[in-house]
């Protein structure tokens, strides 16, 4: 059994993004998905700071600090892209116009609750950005995360213990060990890495898991 690399996870998520989708990639890990979107298909990347049709990172010589993504990294604009203000940007996000957003997470519950903005530690300085708007605004919310923390605890949980970002909002989790569909009835495994078994996944996560694996 081999964990998927972050690059492999990004490539896997990219495969599920259809042509024509309007997509917001959260800061951090999900940003890498952009590198795996097919060049010959039109996928529209939105950034909450007022960009639609975001392109790849520029060459060092072409960096423009007025053209950055939500993670404050330099980006480019595709031909056909546009700029707009924060009101219109969150109209896109909160108004249900974004087809897919992909977010990182501290925890996701089997029914799709998301915790990704605050560890709840008393001395932490909280920062939320656009996470709560994306969580409840996008038509589909995907999470991309390692299934286990560094100390081996499952980030897919029966109920989140960290402060919530949104309720019942995540429809799918792409992890390094398996892919899960979430919903009111709980979590279903739709893919696993080679050598993984449902029983092992149940053991690692400690949550009830149904199988929705495609026949091989």
């Amino acid at each position: 059994m081999e964990r998927m690399s972050r690059e492999a996870m990004a490539a896997r998520v990219a495969r599920d993004i259809p042509e024509g989708a309007y997509v917001n990639l959260g800061i951090g890990l999900p940003t890498r998905i952009a590198n795996y979107l097919p060049q010959d298909k039109d996928v529209f990347l939105q950034s909450e700071n007022g960009i639609l049709g975001m392109g790849p990172a520029p060459d060092d010589d072409d960096i423009d600090w007025d053209l950055i993504n939500a993670g404050k990294q330099p980006v480019t604009l595709l031909s056909g892209g546009s700029f707009f203000h924060h009101g219109d940007s969150f109209t896109m996000m909160r108004g249900g116009h974004i087809d897919i957003c992909v977010l990182g997470a501290f925890q996701v519950s089997v029914c799709g609750d998301l915790a990704n903005w605050h560890t709840g530690a008393p001395d932490a300085i909280p920062a939320v950005g656009g996470a709560m708007d994306l969580a409840i605004g996008a038509k589909q919310v995907f999470v991309m995360m390692d299934l286990l923390t560094k100390t081996g605890e499952s980030k897919l949980v029966p109920a989140c213990t960290y402060p919530l970002t949104g309720l019942a909002c995540v429809s799918r989790v792409y992890s390094d060990l398996a892919i899960f569909d979430l919903g009111p009835d709980g979590a279903r495994v739709i893919e696993m890495v080679d050598g993984m078994t449902l029983d092992t996944l149940r053991e690692l996560t400690g949550v009830p898991l149904e199988s929705a694996l495609l026949p091989a």
Binding site: S82, T91, M92, G95, G96
Partner: protein
């Protein structure tokens, strides 16, 4: 390759259905998508709810839809215009229900729908007939009326130019309700006078980003057509 441009206006409105709620841009004639409305008439859909500033005048546009008796309800601000005889006739005959909304509340309710708000407290109309029966609240010493979003199945919009991703620019005061209706409808259909190659529209000056547009179709401006005839 995503190409939202349809070859014919009939194709652009093919999936309209009876009972649909349709937003129609325009303030008077400016920005009114007459050709798309004619396509609705040709399509045959009926029992429609129309959300628009006016309720048509003369013999074209919304007036033609009224004449054809396709409209069950009009939500608008100003149904009484010069030559709004088709609205008047249908209204007096009881064929058409009217929900009259102050213009700013119409805009705010369309924007609430587009931006995912559940309701807004607006000061407009407080203490008037048009707020009768509505929930009110005093906030910081001022009185407000609770108004709910207006969603639509379709928006029919007239813009000046667009590209295959659905980016739009408008012309002068014909912009009016176009940008906010495009945000509020499940399916936004646009007639443009000019088609542009992708990238020809300046990203700084695009008024409606393509995310809010589902289909567009080129319609030769009426004046040019008339001149050519």
């Amino acid at each position: 390759m995503i190409n939202k441009i349809k070859r014919s206006i009939a194709e652009a409105v093919a999936d309209l259905h009876d009972g649909a709620a349709i937003m129609i841009s325009g303030f008077g004639d400016a920005g009114s998508p007459h050709e798309l409305i004619q396509a609705v008439i040709d399509h045959g859909a009926t029992d429609l709810t129309i959300i628009s500033n006016n309720a048509g005048s003369g013999e074209t546009g919304i007036a033609a839809l009224l004449k054809a008796n396709r409209i069950r309800k009009v939500i608008c601000t100003y149904p009484r215009m010069a030559a709004s005889h088709h609205f008047e006739a249908r209204y007096r005959a009881g064929d058409v229900e009217l929900e009259l909304v102050p213009q700013g509340n119409l805009a705010a309710r369309i924007q609430a729908a587009g931006s995912g708000l559940g309701a807004v407290y607006t000061p407009t109309g407080y203490g008037t007939l048009l707020a009768e029966g509505k929930e009110t609240r005093e906030i910081d010493g001022r009185n407000y009326v609770l108004e709910y979003p207006i969603h639509a199945d379709f928006a029919l919009i007239k813009a000046q130019a667009g590209d295959r991703w659905g980016n739009l620019v408008y012309r002068k005061a014909a912009r009016n309700f176009g940008p906010i209706m495009a945000m509020a409808a499940r399916t936004t259909i646009v007639q443009v006078a000019e088609l542009r190659e992708l990238g020809e529209l300046d990203p700084e000056t695009i008024v409606t980003p393509g995310i809010f547009v589902n289909r567009l179709v080129q319609v030769t401006p009426r004046s040019a057509a008339a001149a050519a005839a």
